[in-house]
Symmetry: C2
Subunit: 352 residues, 2 copies
């Protein structure tokens, strides 16, 4: 079998990180990279700031140059958070008969916010014999897949709490803007009101995955979003907040059935939480038979976690039946420490 061929679309913090990981793995080649503006025409090693001996130093190209029929086995799409924004790009990739993994949070369970686009993507993917997955550390792992895996030990469940207290510091410029890092409370409220501040994108998706995975039913999802205002100046690699400014967002969501909350999501996220004594961590608390009380501390790091999940789900996505898939349709995620080709099923949809 030839090496697995990957194109990375979007060479920001996430896409660059995936390139760097893939360039150090066996049985997989980065055969294309896409960005806009000044990055186009630059060799990938320049963007990554180091050499990767034994790998081709490919040139970052435009969409038109790079997305051609069967140019790769899979495209890692790292450009958007919302299904509606990612849709045209996914369509183009799929019509060029390549599988897709995207970091777009809404794509972890696109039925939640864009059911019609989800249906169209499913049809397009089936028609072109490829699979489309949205994943990342969250949504994708911590507040949905991990929760579901732990319910595997339960015969019955009354209530689920998923709590993620995390640092935004590892994330790039796009995330800083989405979270309102460094803006005033007034601007935060304005951005929240006009929808330009998204905060964490992923609650309806994580809740959707849990509900579908368990075969549960809910009537509604309530969400809240409040600013975390810092008392001290905080500085992260891609964003900063002076005292009195917004250093993060406290997000909550409640999945309700008959007016009663059965799924609770609590997700305060901010830059540099250590500066103010906040201990980060991931919590899964299942009130069921039996009870589950799991704590990971500190939290599984957001940036590298998302990079890892997208890279690690490549074989499962290539192996999957054609169509739109989610984390509950595929075999369990796990790190790939050996040759990527060993994880590819002999009958998988791979460009030979």
């Amino acid at each position: 079998m030839k090496n697995v061929k990957v194109i990375i679309w979007g060479m920001g913090a996430m896409g660059s990180g995936m390139a760097e990981v893939l360039l150090q793995k066996k049985g997989v080649d980065v055969v294309g990279a896409i960005d806009i503006g000044e990055k186009v025409g630059k060799p990938i090693f320049d963007i990554l700031g180091k050499e990767f001996p034994g790998n081709e130093n490919i040139i970052i190209g435009t969409v038109e140059e790079t997305i051609t029929e069967k140019a790769a086995d899979i495209v890692l799409l790292c450009t958007d958070s919302f299904t509606v924004k990612a849709f045209d790009k996914i369509k183009l990739i799929v019509e060029n008969k390549m599988n897709v993994i995207t970091t777009a949070e809404e794509m972890a369970y696109p039925k939640a916010q864009s059911p019609k686009l989800a249906e169209t993507i499913d049809e397009l993917a089936k028609a072109n014999g490829v699979s489309v997955l949205g994943t990342g550390v969250n949504p994708g792992l911590i507040m949905d897949t991990l929760v579901l895996v732990l319910t595997g030990a339960c015969t019955d469940i009354k209530h689920i709490t998923s709590r993620r207290v995390n640092s935004l510091s590892p994330f790039g410029q796009a995330v800083m803007e989405e979270q309102g890092i460094g803006i005033t409370v007034e601007d935060f409220e304005k951005g929240k009101a006009d929808g330009s501040l998204s905060g964490h994108v992923g609650f309806p998706e994580s809740i959707g995955l849990i509900v579908e995975g368990l075969g549960w039913e809910i009537d509604e999802i309530e969400q809240s979003m409040e600013p975390i205002v810092t008392d001290v100046d905080r500085e992260a690699p891609h964003g900063e907040a002076k005292a009195g400014e917004v250093a993060g967002v406290s997000m909550k969501a409640f999945g309700k059935k008959d007016g009663k909350t059965i799924i609770e999501m609590d997700h305060p996220q901010q830059i540099e939480p250590e500066q103010v004594g906040v201990n980060t961590g991931d919590y899964v608390i299942i009130d069921g038979t039996p009870k589950v009380n799991m704590v990971g501390s500190p939290e599984v790091e957001g940036g590298i976690g998302t990079i890892a999940m997208c890279v690690n789900m490549i074989p499962q996505t290539i192996n999957a039946r054609p169509g739109l898939v989610t984390m509950i349709d595929l075999p369990i995620p796990r790190a790939i420490l050996g040759d990527f080709r060993d994880q590819i099923h002999p009958d998988a949809k791979i460009v030979r």
Copy 2:
């Protein structure tokens, strides 16, 4: 779609527990139960000690009466720990064209101890168009699947520690005997030497799943097994140990590469640990990029956890491609709280 039809083979603590859970679930029927001796001919509600209105009170039968061609969609086989002992039963079920889930610990990854039987089971299952899965709480979830799922957030790993400090109290008579509960240290050493005391069965299987899942390589697995001698009298539902007797087993295993341990498994298990101030818990510690440090406390309860895993993996096993499958081949485990039929793929191997 008709209800999913299940036969339970072995009405001990595990099989009875599965029957009880299934009799309370939607879209699934217990259509047969098998045991030996006095239980044969008894109505299942008598054995379970309660009524389940709306369900048929089936009579516990013999193997010959119950295992007939396509008598059910799946058989839950809860009689053995070792592949070699379970093999003839699995063969019979598979040749009668029914899927199998077994609690036999070695069947979680039968390639580890019985590679030839594993191959034969795979061939038989494929020839008969059915799937065979071994699972449970451990092996099956805590020391393998859960570990692997958490590695999904990692790009690289140096060392993995999985620790399970658990109570044996929820388990049945078979487990008490396998663990040497209530025997003397002298008898423990004798049983260990002649192989009649198995302790925890599952380390080579959990390590095998991790190694294959990650695409890692190891050269050898070292195991150790020491008695946990109690200072106080302990009494559990299915076993007891007087002061000075064996109340449990401290098991360890080390997966080594080039003489260096890369996977460490630590699993002290005993009846009534609370009586002597031992806090139970499940630990996953990954020295990788990023580091993962997960603790579930108390441990996910062994008895009900195994019952749940076997019941909850029914749809994934019915949906799977024919052959011998493991937890790394199938979609993530999760509780089934709705109708079982909603989790069955339209093209799955189900008896219509």
